[in-house]
Subunit: 278 residues, 2 copies
């Protein structure tokens, strides 16, 4: 089964396009979990318990797992999400050359999809694209201030670089496994990319902590993915800190049930907010 077919089924079943970003910043893991064997895994497990009914997907960012215990925590997290039947997209933004990028792609043995960086071109992404049934989200237009430094540069053909990347991703999308990362902070750009590639699902980060526009994210981020039988448009709108650290603002942040209950509530609220526009 292709990644986006599986994702379409999940979206249909949960009535949700919410991607929950699992970014367990060590400085923000609550005190009451500090003594756990693997605090990040203990944290993520409770987040998954609290949010999985509203999660189309989990999106751990690799930056938060880059050490020995981190990779153990990540493996446990991915296995636990799989047990709840939620696909996992590793936000790694990887790409390299030759045998090195083949090595990076081995992570797709145990995660369902990955984000990749297009700067090094097609062969740097090929080992990811070659993995049957795995999703590959190519960075296109990112929502950070410096996103414009390269991505908005105008080419001699008149289009900005990020639009060329979208067109290239469409060419690279031989098997229907390619998605695009397009930030929610730039509504116009979301609309433009959607027009260029009508069938490619987007991952839209930047809704929530980054303050992006939920309506635009849904209107342009979802695509009528042609390879799926499910009766839904496919795409993901991600929130990380706005969900997983919602407990910090709860009435009793030092109480475990209250803390993680707030995360569940935040995921549910985002689901509903997005569903108003679906």
């Amino acid at each position: 089964m292709r990644f986006f077919e599986r994702l379409a089924d999940r979206i249909e079943r949960t009535d949700s396009v919410v991607s929950v970003g699992l970014d367990p910043d060590p400085d923000r893991i609550p005190e009451f979990l500090a003594d756990a064997d693997l605090p990040r895994w203990a944290f993520n497990r409770r987040i998954i318990d609290a949010t999985h009914e509203h999660a189309a997907c989990y999106k751990p960012n690799a930056a938060f797992y880059e050490d020995a215990d981190g990779w153990r925590a990540l493996r446990e997290t991915v296995a636990y999400a799989a047990g709840k039947d939620v696909p996992v997209l590793l936000d790694a933004k990887r790409a390299d050359i030759g045998n090195t990028t083949r090595q990076y792609a081995e992570v797709l043995d145990w995660v369902d999809a990955i984000t990749v960086n297009p700067y090094m071109g097609r062969d740097s992404l090929q080992p990811f694209l070659d993995r049957e049934g795995k999703g590959v989200f190519v960075l296109c237009r990112t929502s950070n201030p410096g996103g414009s430094d390269l991505q908005d540069l105008e080419l001699d053909s008149g289009e900005p670089l990020y639009q060329r990347v979208a067109a290239l991703a469409d060419v690279w999308n031989a098997d229907g496994d390619v998605g695009l990362v397009v930030g929610a902070t730039t509504t116009e750009e979301l609309a433009t990319v959607r027009e260029l590639v009508p069938e490619i699902p987007f991952l839209v980060p930047g809704v929530g902590a980054q303050g992006g526009d939920a309506e635009a994210a849904v209107e342009h981020g979802l695509a009528a993915y042609p390879h799926s039988d499910a009766d839904v448009s496919v795409g993901l709108v991600n929130s990380s800190r706005g969900i997983i650290f919602a407990g910090e603002e709860s009435s009793r942040p030092d109480d475990e049930a209250t803390y993680f209950g707030a995360a569940g509530d935040a995921a549910k609220r985002l689901k509903k907010r997005l569903n108003r526009h679906r």
Copy 2:
């Protein structure tokens, strides 16, 4: 002390601009090390023993360490290289946004320099640039076939994207800690980038297994780094498989001393070959 000052001292002391790529492909680690506690660390330690006299720098590629044992092996490797007084450049090609890229930058607590990907722009690299005394090598023109997909795109200003990246890196180089990654397979492009940024040291991969031109790598890759007192031009020419797996072609690949002796010989040969052009 700045990274490139330290590197200049190292180049002067070893009379070498060789960067040894530590890419311990699990499929190529020799049988006789298979039972080691951490085979990659066992392998790297012997490579360092055999090559350090000829190494200006070690360059582990993060792709080969992305699991729990891998990060342990990497930490041991970096500490061991530090014990031999050889700087370590982590080839990670990282970049992300906000708190995520700050998290990635924490690796500079224990490595001396890192490679980064410019696609997400300045703020995605800022936490790396902010680390005092650490080197940051920005991908500019890579030596793989797909390197041209984005990097050679012509901007409306008439220059290709990689030249704009070189110019941006020059702007981002407020403290003299920025280097550029420019592949050796494209002599003309090496010369062009050197002309654009006379003072920025290059990391030139692609000499050796990838067959790049050693003369061009030395002629254009090294820069008279203005912040150093050492009487050398500064830059790095990397070889990975051509050095670390040279033992596979030796007379007795199953004999440990012969196997790693071949790696030492290969590093020494590359040093001499490059020094003919320095």
